[in-house]
């Protein structure tokens, strides 16, 4: 009788423990998913400060060109289409290692629109068209494979096709797998 009472107590304890254990398992799993999701998105975007170190480097907008309206070059693109070329300068403040992996560099207009860079082949073709003698600069993904050593600088170039009416509002948004959900934003101030 004593044994059966002890058995019954254990049975009830196991039954009572089941809901909190299930809830805990769900919570742990959910927390892991939330952490993974937060690493994929750019939830915290901040304007870059002058002396800010981001992903081991100091970032500066070196050049922003607007092509297609006949001002920078003679080329006039049809309708609203414009080509924007940006150059970012990155000065490594420490050994970067693999911290530039999964680089995401986009243009945003502050109204919820994002433009991703042209692919490497098209970008290199355009570089050669614009200046046949110059060696095309690497984009962000290629630069991430060979980041500069500590104290050295590197230029990164990306090209974007977007509509003319977005141009005055554009900003570069940059993040890496190691920094997300944090990203930095640099306004282009193109007119």
């Amino acid at each position: 009788m004593v044994a059966s009472r002890r058995e019954a107590a254990r049975w009830w304890m196991a039954l009572i423990a089941l809901p909190p254990l299930l809830a805990t398992a769900l919570a742990v799993n959910g927390w892991r998913n939330i952490e993974e999701l937060s690493r994929r998105g750019e939830w915290q975007v901040q304007p870059v400060a002058a002396d800010q170190v981001f992903a081991g480097a100091g970032w500066r907008l070196e050049q922003a060109r607007l092509i297609g309206d006949g001002r920078d070059t003679k080329q006039i693109f049809p309708g609203q289409m414009r080509l924007v070329i940006i150059r970012l300068s990155a000065e490594a403040k420490r050994d970067i290692g693999e911290d530039w992996g999964q680089c995401q560099l986009r243009l945003t207009d502050g109204k919820g629109h994002d433009w991703t860079p042209l692919d490497v082949i098209l970008s290199s073709d355009l570089s050669r068209d614009l200046d046949p003698r110059a060696e095309p600069l690497p984009g962000c993904s290629i630069a991430s494979l060979h980041p500069p050593a500590k104290g050295e600088s590197m230029l990164i170039e990306e090209k974007f096709v977007l509509p003319a009416d977005a141009v005055p509002h554009l900003a570069v948004r940059l993040s890496f797998a190691s920094t997300r959900p944090h990203a930095i934003s640099i306004p282009l101030a193109l007119k």
Partner: protein
């Protein structure tokens, strides 16, 4: 005896309840499947992230392609379907990785690689927000499948929790020709 019966009834009730749950719970694939938006060929069909307007749809037995100033004619035992369309991306740069035709039998036909030399293929372009992008899609499918066709477009090849637009192609609005020759100006 009563306790034994109560236990049996309890187990059977729990089994029946679990069976009901299993039968009524949508599968994981269904829960995480594409978000469908359907429309007709004459309309601009808009999802949350992109819209599509069919400009023209042409069926033909011969596809004529020009490559390095050489003319290539491709025949088929079925039929070629060439669709010219205009796409708009609303929020972000968008490739069109998923494009297929669902035929009369329900089978899916992805774009043919026999027309890779065709100009203005939408699958090779990226749709930029604010810039409408026009281009063509080329399919090869059996003649009998062409009696009832739906064009299925999406950003990803197998979209999960992403938009997928279905445009039902109207038989009366599909042009029938002997030859179709896609060019830089469309079809």
């Amino acid at each position: 005896m009563i306790r034994f019966l109560a236990t049996i009834i309890g187990i059977l009730t729990a089994a029946a309840l679990l069976q009901v749950f299993q039968a009524t719970t949508p599968g994981y694939a269904q829960l995480t499947g594409p978000i469908l938006t359907s429309g007709a060929q004459k309309d601009t069909v808009s999802s949350q992230t992109f819209s599509v307007r069919i400009d023209k749809a042409v069926q033909a037995k011969t596809l004529v392609l020009k490559r390095f100033s050489r003319t290539i004619e491709r025949q088929t035992q079925g039929t070629w379907l060439v669709v010219s369309a205009e796409l708009w991306a609303f929020q972000e740069t968008m490739p069109l990785a998923g494009a297929s035709i669902r035929g009369a039998s329900g089978r899916l036909y992805v774009q043919t690689h026999r027309a890779d030399a065709a100009p203005q293929l939408l699958s090779l372009k990226k749709v930029q927000p604010g810039l409408p992008t026009t281009g063509i899609l080329v399919f090869e499918l059996p003649e009998e499948e062409a009696t009832d066709m739906t064009l299925i477009l999406s950003k990803q090849a197998s979209p999960r929790l992403e938009d997928e637009v279905h445009v039902h192609l109207d038989r009366g609005m599909i042009e029938s020709r002997d030859k179709v020759e896609p060019g830089n100006g469309g079809i």
